[in-house]
Amino acid sequence: MSEFDDAGEMPEPEERAVVSAGDYLNKITGERVERECRERLKSGCRELVLDFAKTEIVNSIGVSILLGVIDSAQGTGTKVVFSGVNGQTAELFDMLGVTRHVEVA
């Protein structure tokens, strides 16, 4: 079994929450990711890890949703970490300035 379960989360200390971005971060997946991230932020986590290990493609809506999550996290002073980002997605995030606001692990 992988480190993360199907729901994209694993038991973590309260300070750190992990959310999986799924295989294709588009509107449908993005809304789920956004919902989960907001729940974690609301519950007061200090570090939000978005796991891209399974993510092959991120489209414009996905980027917009991630920026929304980052904006919210900045509002609560929560650190956002992107993990497992593939080359193509990393290039996209760099080009659009997303990586300026997060730590890439």
Binding site: G30, S60, I61, S64, L67, G97, R100
Partner: protein, 424 residues
């Protein structure tokens, strides 16, 4: 160079998706939310919003927002100068910092500054302002380039069209609602006029007071029993209400004669179907052949009726219904020269004349409606209201009706629907 190419591909993908979203999506709020995501995601914009502009209220209402916070105004007013400037500017991003001179930016500067909004894009479609985009800073921290602004313009045009389509749809819906209300009012006026006419016709004959109204109601009952649609049934009722309109021109002494009228008087009275037809013909009735019902409601299946002595299939169906309703009322109400006939006699008369004067399936429909009311199958007490409780509680009425219905059932039944009648 490669970075530029990738940017272009990414923006192009978003633009294509936006075009699809706008043409396919049915829900306007959802379309706006997705449009905002696409524009933000294509250029990496931290936050923003889309507003729909009402040129009547001079007000912009937020229809989609990302990261603008609860304090951002949901509705913003524009003065004429703002609107004029935005229309002159066209669909091109305005740098908020450089537009502080406009009243709009002075009024809402706090809201813009609080959320670090950098660009305001008026959405103009066919020289009309339909909305606006509010865009925050780019995630890169860089200023917007002319390339970015061109992408925003291209996407803004799509969003403007979507808002314009929405406005048109709302306008069409508003007008459709208005038309519906007008139609309902006209319909009410029409039915009130018909009922007023029926009352006027009945006033002429003191012995048959309420006759036209009752015939209208019996006609309605028969049409309902035949399974006609509400519109068709209402049309049939109107035909019943107005069937005797020609009597308005007949001498009152003939109509009110307390004896059986002579041949000359009878000839005078018998003109009323033709006169009624002439009166009703120029009126554009929304329903079935109302004038034909008036003209032929004294025709009989066996050709012994008047004015034209038509046979069965030549008689308009609506006239056959009115004929039955008219005869049924004549039999069940007092006349100057006789009392109303008891139920058993009426049923017997209807049975005997079924196929001669009356269409058998119509007799069945009338008796079935009566039977259903007496057995409780039909909850509405229509016959009781028209004939009176005492009449409907006549001894053995239910078995009589049952027998009559059994007797009429084996006959070939050809139920014609109102489709077979001309609808104006």
């Amino acid at each position: 160079m490669i970075a530029d190419k990738n940017k272009l591909i990414h923006a192009f993908g978003a633009l294509a998706e936006l075009g699809q979203e706008i043409t396919v999506r049915a829900s306007f709020p959802e379309t706006m939310r997705t449009s905002l995501h696409l524009i933000s995601g294509s250029l990496g914009i931290m936050r923003g919003g889309i507003a729909k502009y009402s040129r009547y209220a001079h007000e912009m209402n937020l229809v989609a927002a990302r990261g603008l916070g609860d304090e951002f105004p949901l509705a913003m007013s524009l003065c004429e100068e703002d609107e004029r400037q935005f229309l002159t500017n066209g669909i091109y991003p305005i740098d908020v910092d450089q537009a502080r001179v406009l009243p709009y930016f002075q009024v809402y500067s706090n809201s813009f500054d609080r959320r670090n909004l950098k660009l305001f894009v008026p959405l103009i479609v066919r020289d009309e302002m339909v909305g606006a985009l509010f865009l925050g800073e780019k995630a890169t921290g860089d200023a917007y380039t002319s390339y970015d602004k061109d992408v925003i313009c291209a996407m803004g045009r799509h969003i403007g069209v979507a808002i314009s389509q929405r406005n048109l749809l709302e306008e069409v819906q508003r007008r459709a609602d208005e038309n519906r209300k007008l139609f309902d009012e006209l319909h009410l006026t029409y039915t009130d006029t018909v009922k007023a006419f029926a009352a006027a016709i009945d006033c002429k004959d003191k012995y048959t007071e309420g006759h036209s109204v009752r015939v209208g109601k019996y006609t309605e009952i028969i049409a309902t029993e035949l399974g006609w649609t509400p519109d068709e049934t209402e049309g049939a009722a109107v035909a019943g209400y107005l069937h005797d309109v020609g009597k308005l021109t007949v001498d009152r002494r003939i109509i009110n004669a307390p004896y059986r009228i002579n041949a000359k008087e009878s000839a005078e009275l018998n003109k009323h179907p033709g006169v009624g037809y002439e009166i009703l013909l120029p009126i554009r009735h929304p329903f079935t052949d109302v004038p034909l019902a008036a003209k032929y409601h004294h025709e009989r299946l066996d050709g012994r009726g008047y004015p034209d002595g038509l046979y069965d299939k030549d008689i308009p169906y609506i006239a056959k219904i009115v004929n039955l309703a008219d005869s049924f009322d004549a039999m069940t109400t007092d006349r100057p020269y006789r009392h109303r006939r008891p139920a058993d006699e009426v049923i017997d008369d209807l049975k005997r004349n079924s196929g001669k004067q009356f269409a058998p399936e119509l007799v069945s429909a009338l008796l079935k409606a009566m039977f259903s009311e007496l057995t409780g199958e039909a909850s509405e007490k229509r016959f009781r209201r028209l004939l009176g409780r005492e009449y409907m509680e006549a001894e053995n009425l239910v078995p009589m009706l049952k027998t009559a219905l059994n007797g009429t059932a084996p006959k070939p039944v050809t139920v014609l629907s109102a489709d077979q009648l001309t609808v104006n």
